[in-house]
Amino acid sequence: MRLGLLVYFLRKALGNIRTNPFLSMVTLSTIAISMLILGLFSLIYLNVQQSLHQMGGELQITAYLQETVSSEQAKVLRSKVADWPEVEGITYISKEQALARFRSQLREYAGILEGLKENPLPASLELTLMAQYGRSGNIKELSTRLGRLPGVAEVQYGRKWMAKLRVFVEVMKLVGITVGGLLLIATIFVISNTIKLTFYSRREELEIMRLVGATDFFIKAPFLIEGLLHGLGGALLAAGGLSLLTLFLFSHLDLPLRLAMMAGSLPTGQLVAGFLGLGLLLGVLGSMVSLRRFLRP
């Protein structure tokens, strides 16, 4: 396409926007608000997933070692298990460390320790799993494998609340993907509906263009550029709104919530770029599809 033609189409598109400020405003704001909701949801979803991941990451498998295993042998075992693909982290807890932890963590049972002459707690290896292996089937299989290793006395996993949390994480994931997917579809649908309506109210103009001998390409091009501008503008507005909104929410949170959110992701340059891309796509594709409807013979 010649540059002159491009400039011509761009000028036409701007002309269209100026001629129909109402239609432009509606399209722009619909795209903006739809994308704002979508963006807000994604951001929240990412944050929640991240916090859940952190909590879920604590789902540990503990392999208690036999009394006979020396700390050197334990370390060999550790490096062996660390190579398993499911394993995210692995820590060796010696008998002494176990006792110290018991003392600090289970203070209400501290009385128990008073009558002891020797340390009854075993050494252990504590494994955290990669998130994608966190399903209960995998964990069972893994713990069986762990139990078969020489030197491992017993394998433990999944306390009651952790299992519940796991279910909850699953539900959240499902919820997130369902709502997110539907939201995306709804956004595309609403935007395309809006664009269709704006073309509907301009169908006479489209018809007249055709009657005076304009090719379909010539008619479409300015409208596609218009759609592109609307999409870009809407995405920019949404990105701006999203940033403001998160900043506002952020500054109104209690400290712990704020820290929890810090762990997640705030809107970044990358996210904004992706947003603009999506807006652009929505604007152009929406216009393309809608135009076809009104350029049919």
């Binding site: 011509y8 129909n20 006479e204 009657l211 005076v212 001998g213 090719t215 010539f218």
Partner: protein
């Protein structure tokens, strides 16, 4: 330039808006289409510039067989034809300039040329002072003249004008007719659908096709057809 052979046109139902019409306009012809309201004048013009497909029959425009013309070819045919629509079909929210320039823009003419040409044709129809007015704010006659200006702006080889003087006073009507005759003299084929007998009488050498309920009831040179028609009317009045 324009040839119709046994053309039929039905809009959906079984009533024909055009019924077995055979008609020819050669290059440089001035052809009037006349006939009472609902006779099929507009329909005939619509077939010529591919706004509607014929139900049956053959249409040739500038050597192109319209029955075989592909969708993608239609715009290029239309660029050869300037049309004054009966209902104007202007972009109301655009300026007079933008409306008249449209036919030039779609063919990709440079901006400077468009400006020159648009001003020129607006002067011809007496609207040079209204160049920047929105079309929806013009009077009926002014709108009609914008439609005429748009039709002739791109120097088409065929001009189809559908009742182009219905909203114009006698004086401007004559000027507009003179405008059509002038471009006709330069070789453009003009087809003018009208009720106005005065108009036809003013161009005695023109061809006339007279429609009635979709059928071509008379065709020939204006002078003869009009005379014939008067005789016909008298006799029919005598019968009644």
């Amino acid at each position: 330039m324009i040839q119709l052979y046994h053309v039929y046109k039905a809009y959906g139902g079984d009533q024909y808006a055009l019924h077995d019409v055979t008609l020819t306009a050669d290059k440089g012809d001035f052809l009037f289409i006349t006939g009472p309201s609902g006779a099929g004048k507009t329909t005939l013009l619509k077939l010529i510039f591919c706004a509607e497909p014929a139900t049956r029959g053959q249409l040739l425009v500038d050597g192109v067989n319209l029955q075989r013309l592909k969708r993608s070819g239609i715009p290029y045919l239309r660029r050869k034809i300037g049309v004054v629509f009966q209902d104007f079909k202007l972009l109301g929210e655009r300026t007079v300039f933008a409306n008249v320039g449209l036919t030039l823009e779609v063919t990709g003419r440079p901006r400077a040329y468009i400006e020159k040409k648009v001003r020129q044709v607006l002067r011809l129809v007496g609207l040079d002072a209204k160049e920047n007015h929105l079309c929806c704010r013009l009077s009926g006659g002014e709108q009609q003249r914008v439609a005429i200006a748009r039709a002739v702006a791109a120097n088409p080889i065929i001009v189809l004008a559908d009742e182009p003087t219905g909203n114009l006073d006698d004086e401007i009507t004559l000027e507009i007719l003179e405008l059509f005759r002038e471009i006709n003299r330069r070789g453009t084929t003009v087809v003018l659908a009208t009720h106005n007998r005065e108009l036809i009488r003013k161009v005695p050498g023109a061809k006339v096709g007279m429609l009635r309920q979709g059928r071509l009831v008379a065709a020939g040179v204006a002078k003869q057809v009009m005379a014939q028609r008067s005789a016909l009317e008298m006799s029919s009045q005598g019968v009644l």
